[in-house]
């Protein structure tokens, strides 16, 4: 975009007025006409500039509004992409990423929790009750987890608790507290019966990989199930 090209009329007016100003022998009428011409163009320039400014102010306001909306939607999307819609804990992809990242920085312990006979609850009370039980159980887990724990839902009725920098023995204590709480009192949504869970606990050294940590906890969980469910095993 070239200034002189865009303002050709204005440049013409400038040149003409300069020509007039350079001459000393014109009549008063000629100078007056030239002045009026400049005046007319100046008015037009002001009017047009005002229009352009108003127009860009409006467009910028709209742009900012849309940009804000976009920012908000992006945040919502990011949240939805990383959280389980039912329980609001991390979803499978996000918790795996967190575990991997944690192990790259240091040691971590992992608890896998699987609700005992969850299918029976669904069959007997229906899926909406099943959902409520899951939410209530997540609240129980949260109530017994330390601040730095990350809880994730990795399957229908299977949850993980990532405990950064935890030793195996300390993680077993956390798992034990969750287990004891489930046996101490039923969930408020299902007061007539206990909902219990089997828990497997494992430990990963700094720099170890997700698969090893997860498989160890999973094997421990399998052992817990095989020994009659409703218990904590570790490996």
């Amino acid at each position: 975009m070239d200034l002189n090209e865009l303002f050709r009329e204005e440049s013409d007016v400038l040149n003409r007025s300069q020509d007039v100003a350079a001459q000393t022998t014109l009549s008063a009428e000629d100078y007056r006409d030239a002045l009026l011409m400049v005046n007319r163009h100046y008015q037009r320039l002001m009017r047009e500039t005002y229009r352009m400014i108003s127009r860009s102010d409006r467009a910028e306001r709209e742009l900012n509004r849309v940009n804000e909306q976009l920012h908000q939607l992006a945040q919502e999307l990011e949240y939805k992409a990383s959280h389980d819609p039912l329980t609001a804990v991390w979803n499978r992809g996000a918790i795996i990423q967190r575990i991997t990242q944690t192990l790259s920085n240091g040691a971590a312990a992992l608890i896998i929790l699987d609700i005992d006979h969850f299918k029976r609850i669904n069959d007997e009370f229906g899926h909406p009750m099943g959902d409520k039980v899951i939410c209530a159980l997540v609240s129980r887990i949260q109530a017994h987890c330390p601040e730095e724990a990350s809880i994730g839902r990795i399957g229908g009725e299977e949850f993980t608790v990532l405990l950064p920098h935890y030793r195996l023995s300390d993680a077993v204590i956390v798992a034990g507290a969750i287990h004891a709480s489930l046996n101490a009192s039923p969930l408020a949504v299902l007061p007539g019966q206990l909902v219990t869970a089997s828990l497997g606990v494992s430990y990963g050294k700094p720099g170890s990989d997700f698969e090893t940590l997860y498989n160890n906890a999973d094997v421990a969980l399998y052992d817990a199930k095989n020994h009659g469910r409703n218990r904590v095993f570790f490996r």
């Binding site: 500039t49 352009m52 400014i53 108003s54 860009s56 102010d57 910028e60 306001r61 900012n64």
Partner: protein
Amino acid sequence: MQNLVIAATESTPEVSFDFAAGQFALRGESWPENAAAFYRPLLDALENWQPQPGGDVEVNIALRYFNSSSTKMLFSLFDLFNQRAQSGQTVALNWFFDAEDDVSEEFGQELALDFTDLQVNLQAEMAS
């Protein structure tokens, strides 16, 4: 002359004009409903200011965002400072811009071209 201090709002910048010290600053965002009404008192105050001779002036402008009508008024403001510079005062204009904001950086460069008597300093800031 009394200092001019106005707190920032969502759409108007913080204003701090310390005439005695020769320190002037605008910080924040500028997209008021009526830019002329917001900036007119600033321009009037600056026009009425009769500084001690020889006093240096520092103008700090840190506007994250300013709309077109604010731009028009800022040009008038900078022109007044430029006139001060033409009449012998040393006027430094520090233009603070977000390091990732090319448009703002370019605007600062153009200020140096348009207001040749101001000492325009471009200062990149890390995005906060």
